[in-house]
């Protein structure tokens, strides 16, 4: 490519930038840091092989994600991107727990409403009531016991949630990432 500016990769590698240089579309000469960081972590040869195995229309995204990972690894040489994944998974778990607690509280309200409704219906019933069974009375008492606690026990529910295995709901990664120390917080 006579006279044309070599791409950032070929500049760094000190070689002639071919017309069909695989790096040229993604590593322009005005951003040398981008290739430098990717080269430092992955190596030019590996990046070239990876790009060759990917369809052309997806190479831009691949380069972006490689740059992201390389930056992450450069800032956190021990955990890299995995630190971010751990942090976000933790957030997801916390949110799911809060959601479970909130949904349980909604259920309590709904049960309370049902009970109130039943009491009102019972009040307006005809004199020859159908006798309720002992089991129904026991169920009624259990509900009353549950609903009589005016302070909703978040701590108890959180403990119960934590006792559940949490692996099923977070199965979006192949395995649990290694635990990280706190370079990201």
């Amino acid at each position: 490519m006579v006279g044309a500016t070599p791409c950032a990769s070929c500049k760094l590698l000190r070689r002639r930038c071919a017309k069909d240089c695989i790096f040229a579309p993604y590593f322009p000469p005005d951003d040398p840091h981008k290739f430098a960081i990717v080269h430092k972590i992955f190596g030019a040869s590996n990046v070239s092989k990876m790009l060759q195995e990917i369809p052309v229309q997806q190479r831009g995204d691949a380069v972006s994600s490689l740059v992201f990972e390389a930056n992450a690894r450069s800032r956190d040489p021990v955990y890299g991107c995995v630190g971010a994944i751990s942090y976000l998974q933790n957030q997801v778990s916390q949110l799911q727990m809060q959601l479970a607690v909130a949904q349980a509280e909604i259920l309590c309200f709904q049960m309370q409403q049902q009970q109130q409704q039943q009491q009102q219906d019972h009040h307006h019933q005809q004199p020859n009531n159908i006798p309720i069974t002992t089991q129904q009375m026991m169920n009624q008492d259990e509900k009353s016991l549950l609903l009589s606690t005016s302070n909703f026990d978040y701590n108890l529910l959180q403990q119960q949630y934590l006792n559940f295995s949490s692996t099923t709901s977070n199965n979006i990664v192949m395995q649990d990432p290694p635990k990280r120390e706190s370079l990201w917080t």
Binding site: D61, R73, P77, I85, L95
Partner: protein, 160 residues
């Protein structure tokens, strides 16, 4: 010392020295581990990265490098970043649901308070407040990683 070579030196077909940087983290019983890491990062880069770390942190580093390499092999376009993006989506969805649930709770509380007689001043109870949503992921932006740029222009079918 042929029989005692680590997975890295076996793969690279070289002698495994006593102070081999790879051998504590790439045992010969798991050859796939090193081949994965080598394919994505290259043996030389991995060796340099490990050398630059204190000994006590090298194990963790080797684990995370293996994890990242596996992610990249599973998803050659997005690697680990695909997982990060998916987690962001999960967080957004969970926050929306939580906001909805909290709005419902507020509604129910208001409705049930409307049916109660007004309490005396000295009988007022402080209700436990719902835990605040902990969703501060702004550090990702603070660290100049333009995840939003990765997310917005991309095809929704991100994961192979």
């Amino acid at each position: 010392m042929n029989s005692g070579r680590c997975a890295a030196c076996k793969y690279l077909r070289r002698r495994c020295p006593r102070d081999c940087i790879f051998s504590p983290y790439f045992p010969p019983t798991n050859p796939h581990r090193f081949s994965c890491v080598h394919r994505i990062f290259g043996a030389s880069n991995v060796g340099k990265m490990l050398q630059q770390l204190p000994v006590e942190l090298r194990g963790e580093a080797a684990e995370t490098l293996y994890y990242e390499a596996q992610c990249r092999m599973e998803n050659p376009v997005y690697g680990c970043v695909g997982i990060i993006t998916q987690l962001h989506q999960q967080i957004n969805e969970a926050e929306r649901e939580l906001a909805r649930a909290q709005a419902q709770i507020a509604f129910h509380r208001h409705a049930s308070n409307a049916h109660r007689p007004l309490p005396q001043q000295d009988q007022l109870e402080v209700e436990p407040s719902a835990p605040e949503a902990v969703t501060d992921s702004s550090w990702l932006d603070q660290n100049e990683f333009d995840v939003s740029a990765l997310m917005s222009p991309l095809d929704p079918a991100w994961f192979l």
